[in-house]
């Protein structure tokens, strides 16, 4: 190990505490960056209408938007889990031609402007869309400008986060556990359900939280594909944007709620992401 350095041990000082000196040319922009990220949040807290906050937050409109947001984000997360985890398994555990391309396409919504996603969804699932026209003609199902549409728009944007997170966990998990399960008579699906799924549960949970947070904040795809109808498709971010033009205090109050939710999410994930290794 390290040779005993008696002088640094004196006074209970830990070895990592030796002053190494941070160059000024790095320190200044670093502090600037920190301030830039924190200042808006601080401003939000400073300008918050604390006296009228209880009143703002108990208004039926806020509750309606908040409830809709939570329901839609949770539904989008559930949908992402049902179709995203198998997709992640396919990407991580099987080898098929064009797998790299499929993987790239799956991650495309991560970098795609959400508005473009909304337009694309309209072209696919809109009343005259590629698939939407048949849904309308055969089943009488209309997706755009409905609550279901909100869920679909959020899923489109949020699912890649889940898929990437779960795929990474699957790649890190030892595939030999699945082999051990098959030698015990388990089909590949049983091995996945009874062995792999419990083993990667932490990764799935982290991916789900990430996807949920992304869905909760989704704006562009939602407003493009589902519109902005209070009670039906107007989620919190949409309500914030709308309120900012008529009632800034309400917008701040709504923003505070979303900030609180975000901090809660971060707190829930601190073991995973806030500890650097």
């Amino acid at each position: 190990m390290t040779p005993p350095a008696s002088d640094t041990r004196k006074g209970g000082r830990r070895p990592g505490r030796i002053r190494t000196g941070v160059p000024f040319a790095l320190l200044l922009p670093a502090l600037l960056g920190l301030a830039f990220l924190l200042l808006p949040l601080v401003a939000l807290l400073i300008r918050a209408p604390w006296h009228s906050l209880p009143e703002q937050l108990t208004s039926p409109e806020v509750w309606q938007a908040l409830r809709l947001s939570l329901v839609c984000a949770t539904s989008a997360t559930a949908l992402s889990l049902v179709i995203g985890v198998p997709l992640a398994w396919l990407l991580a555990r099987t080898d098929f031609p064009g797998r790299g391309l499929v993987r790239a396409l799956v991650t495309l919504p991560l970098v795609l402007p959400p508005v473009v996603g909304g337009v694309a969804l309209l072209l696919a699932l809109g009343r005259n869309g590629v698939v939407g026209q048949w849904l309308d003609a055969w089943f009488g199902i209309t997706l755009p400008f409905t609550t279901t549409g909100v869920v679909l728009a959020e899923t489109f944007v949020a699912m890649p986060f889940l898929v990437i997170s779960v795929e990474g966990t699957l790649r890190a998990a030892d595939p030999r556990y699945e082999e051990a399960a098959t030698t015990l008579g388990a089909s590949r699906f049983t091995a996945f359900r009874r062995v792999t799924l419990p083993l990667i549960a932490p990764g799935i949970a982290a991916g789900a939280v990430l996807a949920w947070a992304r869905a909760l904040g989704e704006f562009g795809a939602t407003i493009t594909f589902a519109g902005n109808f209070p009670g039906r498709t107007q989620t919190m971010p949409l309500a914030v944007y709308l309120a900012l033009q008529s009632d800034p205090e309400a917008a701040i109050a709504l923003s505070l709620v979303l900030l609180a939710v975000s901090i809660a999410v971060l707190a829930g994930l601190r073991d995973r992401w806030m500890t650097t290794s």
């Binding site: 030892d174 030999r176 556990y177 082999e179 051990a180 399960a181 098959t182 030698t183 015990l184 008579g185 388990a186 089909s187 590949r188 049983t190 009874r194 062995v195 419990p198 083993l199």
Partner: protein
């Protein structure tokens, strides 16, 4: 499937396998057969293809050729989950989220037993392994020896007709190993079907198995009983494993002319290609050329290296005949042995052992 015509009925029982696996630049091509109750050890250096052979038997690696029959049933196209094969993996691979009991119950459950039934069976297996009090423990709470027994119970709980063990003792420390080896030997002796174990440790192989199959570079180089292999090694790898000096040459009466080296005098009378083997302890070293020695085998050598070997010193010699010699620490000191020192080595003909190649 019924056995093809021409195969006598007695070979239908047990394992009859010709495993061919081509992978990249590596080719495994071995033939294995065993009767129910047999314990066969696949012994070989790292990269020889032992584990590939085991995985092929389990169905985790597809065969590119050959066949695999177990009690007359062709299995080469059967997926792993449908093979009557149990595997004890090298690091056991106990499911970390399940208790010892549920690990063992996993197999019976997959074979259609109800949850209660599977757990009852699992409890029986744990009891038999002396692990009843650890039933609810998660694998990380088990010691190496306990985990090994849970893995064995888990593999046996599906009542396999072929049990495979991949380096079953490699993950254990020296002390535990001794104890677990004895237990494993008992459990394998009770097992009625075929057991195949893979190991690179000759002691494990000789203690646990009735028959050894030595694999090098994907092919079988020798097979036989442990004592036969220990007495008649046929490759340098095996000779080294069992601690013998081994030479290959052409015998003519009492003399074996080595392919590269001096002639060796033996007590056996042979002719044709032959091996000569003798233990390092049969070698006597001298500082000066011995005069009154009756030894016919006398070579001029040089010390290449020295290492302690138990309570002895093992000297690696080069020169007329490369060989290993064992001597006591006192003898080594008296001879003033050090790397580079010239020595004379003698071996009595009576202590060599020649056999046809």
């Amino acid at each position: 499937m019924s056995a093809p015509d021409g195969i006598p009925p007695d070979t239908a029982e047990g394992l009859d396998a010709h495993l061919v696996v081509d992978r990249d630049a590596f080719r495994l091509d071995i033939t294995l057969s065993a009767a129910p109750g047999d314990v066969v050890a696949l012994l070989g250096p790292n990269g020889a293809g032992k584990t590939t052979a085991l995985r092929a038997l389990a169905g985790l690696v597809p065969l590119t050729g050959g066949h695999l029959r177990l009690d007359g049933d062709a299995l080469e196209r059967t997926p792993p989950e449908a093979r009557p094969v149990g595997v004890v993996f090298q690091d056991y691979l106990l499911f970390p989220h399940l208790s010892a009991l549920d690990n063992v119950a996993f197999g019976p459950r997959c074979h259609g037993a109800s949850k209660a039934e599977a757990r009852a069976q699992a409890a029986g297996w744990l009891e038999r392994m002396g692990l009843a009090e650890h039933a609810v423990a998660k694998p990380r709470r088990l010691s190496g020896g306990q985990a090994q027994r849970v893995a064995l119970a888990r593999a046996l709980a599906t009542r396999p007709r072929l049990l495979l063990l991949d380096e079953p003792l490699a993950a254990l420390d020296a002390r535990t190993r001794l104890e677990v080896r004895a237990q494993l030997r008992r459990h394998l002796a009770e097992f009625e079907a075929v057991a195949v174990l893979v190991t690179h440790d000759p002691l494990d192989a000789m203690v646990l198995a009735d028959r050894l199959v030595v694999i090098e570079h994907g092919t079988v180089v020798q097979e036989g009983t442990p004592s036969d292999i220990a007495r008649h090694p046929r490759t340098d790898y095996i000779a080294q494993l069992v601690g013998l000096n081994l030479y290959r040459g052409r015998a003519d009466g009492h003399t074996v002319h080595l392919v590269a080296g001096p002639p060796l005098t033996t007590t056996e009378i042979l002719s044709g290609p032959a091996f000569v083997a003798f233990p390092p302890s049969a070698v006597t070293l001298h500082r000066d050329r011995p005069t009154g020695s009756s030894a016919r085998n006398l070579w001029r050598c040089e010390v290449a290296g020295l290492e302690t070997h138990g309570d002895q010193i093992r000297a690696d010699l080069t020169g007329e005949l490369p060989l290993a010699a064992d001597l006591t620490t006192i003898a080594a000191a008296e001879l003033d042995l050090r790397p580079g020192a010239p020595v004379w080595a003698t071996v009595k003909a009576a202590q060599t052992h020649a056999y046809p190649a």
